[in-house]
Symmetry: C2
Subunit: 306 residues, 2 copies
């Protein structure tokens, strides 16, 4: 199966950003791609550089205009599209949500970002309510549930989720055939080149490791290029691109590097997962009898106990 | 702090193997190394290539001759040594055990391998009882508990454990300052060069990822070189070496590649962990309210439910 990733420039103007997405989706569809991943919040610039009430106006309902546009494209090209929206669920409850559109244009499902970052330039806790642990909209199923589609069970996670092996593992245990990460990560321009390189490598490593630990292919679509800080207080953000597709041993199949606009394509085989889980049967040997403290915040032992 | 890793040839003869360990430990100590990691089952060849009762005779009590030898070296050089023994705990209960020797030669603690592999050429389930989930010998503490030493809390894990992000995470949550993996992994010589490279990269990636996810330095000591199959049924095992030391962003500080005998040294700083956990605060945002299904074997939903 051919899969594709879009790495693109985004503008404040949603129409302009979505037109660029459409151009690259068309390009992928012409190559016979059946599953396409777009980057995090691809319809706009990354407004979380600052905390400003006006940006709540960018939010849309789950099946709002951006989802509608992606739905049309999915139907037109008969491919599954994974997009990312700023979702208004109700007044005061906004999410960073991935939407999955089926080949017939229907909404196959959505995933609401569970781990919400907050650090200078990435003020997401101001805008986004974390996803529910139990999906109240879906018979209380666990949040880390793959979305069933005609091209497999999609383990869709979003950006900061990428740093949590727990999230990838739960998707795998729930039957994911593939992991997908729409993301928006960049450098602090005051960091040294060495530090910037370490951060980029760490980011690539952790996502490849989810492939390795679970024997699943991984798609990553990251934002690219410089965006001004709307508050004017900083130099803005420099998103590092480097979107990639890797196979179930973490082997890189395609990498967008720092190209401004690119439609990345690779061929993946789900059968490979089956084979790898036989030769290196990690899931057979999990020590589930010893993992329960993983649901604690910390497990430091009280000094008095020793 | 200077840390060191020994990558060495091993012989059937324990004295000969330990003499080589001693030579390389001396070399590390001369360079001022305070913490030294040896590879898995370094006192002998890797006998798990075949299932043969005679190899149970290689096992020793926890404080047997191999531990005793390491104790002398630790005391002589005033450094902490992490070794690996085939432990006989009682008749019929054998473990693959890492031992930690303090600077004064005392046994700081041990860790009994929790995840036991079993695949052609690596018949470990025949020899090793998995470590207890709750350490009955240590006030029922969880198995994934770092060992307190004068050079920090050592998160010691063994080989196959390396594929499990759960193990590394639990060590981190319990206060580990560093992760250490004595291992013995190699190639199937019938695999293509491409497949061999993917496997080596996957192995490096997953261990680097534990550094990244937990912001901890990682030491890996792997077996090197060809060892015959005692049963004569296969071509034997080709262990791939490539022991390494990486920093808390997964950045490689030293790599032994395929050198037959090498004393690897690098400088690490625990303070770096503190800083990294502030700039990228993964542990702050863990969704412990949603992780509980991770203690299940699988989480596939019953088809009838949907």
């Amino acid at each position: 199966m051919k899969v594709g990733v879009v790495q693109q420039t985004c503008w404040e103007d949603k129409q302009k950003s979505l037109a660029e997405s459409e151009r690259l989706i068309n390009e992928l569809a012409e190559q016979g791609v059946e599953l396409i991943l777009l980057q995090e919040l691809h319809a706009t610039q990354y407004f979380c550089q600052t905390e400003d009430l006006q940006y709540f106006d960018l939010a849309e309902p789950l099946q709002g205009p951006t989802t509608q546009k992606l739905s049309e494209l999915a139907k037109k090209h008969q491919c599954v599209i994974v997009g990312s929206i700023f979702e208004k669920r109700m007044a005061g409850v906004f999410h960073n949500t991935a939407v999955v559109l089926e080949k017939d244009g229907s909404l196959a499902g959505c995933y609401r970002k569970m781990h919400i970052p907050d650090d200078p330039g990435f003020y997401e806790k101001f805008y986004f309510t974390p996803g529910d642990a139990q999906r109240t909209d879906l018979k209380n199923q666990n949040a880390f549930q793959p979305i069933k589609t005609s091209v497999g069970n999609l383990g869709v996670l979003v950006c900061w989720d990428q740093w949590y092996p727990e999230a990838a593992r739960l998707m795998a245990l729930a039957g994911a055939d593939i992991l997908l990460y729409p993301t928006a990560i960049g450098w602090d321009q005051d960091d040294t080149i060495d530090e910037q390189q370490r951060q980029l490598n760490a980011w690539t490593t952790i996502q490849k490791s989810h492939a390795v630990a679970n024997h699943l292919p991984v798609l990553v679509a990251n934002r690219i290029g410089h965006e001004n800080d709307p508050s004017g207080q900083t130099k803005g953000s420099l998103f590092w691109g480097n979107s990639f597709i890797c196979g179930p041993q973490g082997e890189i199949l395609a990498n967008a590097n720092d190209k401004e606009c690119v439609a990345l394509v690779a061929e993946i085989e789900y059968q490979r997962t089956e084979y790898l889980r036989q030769i290196w049967p990690f899931l057979r040997d999990r020590r589930i009898d010893a993992y329960s403290p993983i649901v604690n915040r910390v497990n430091l032992r009280n000094n008095n106990e020793e």
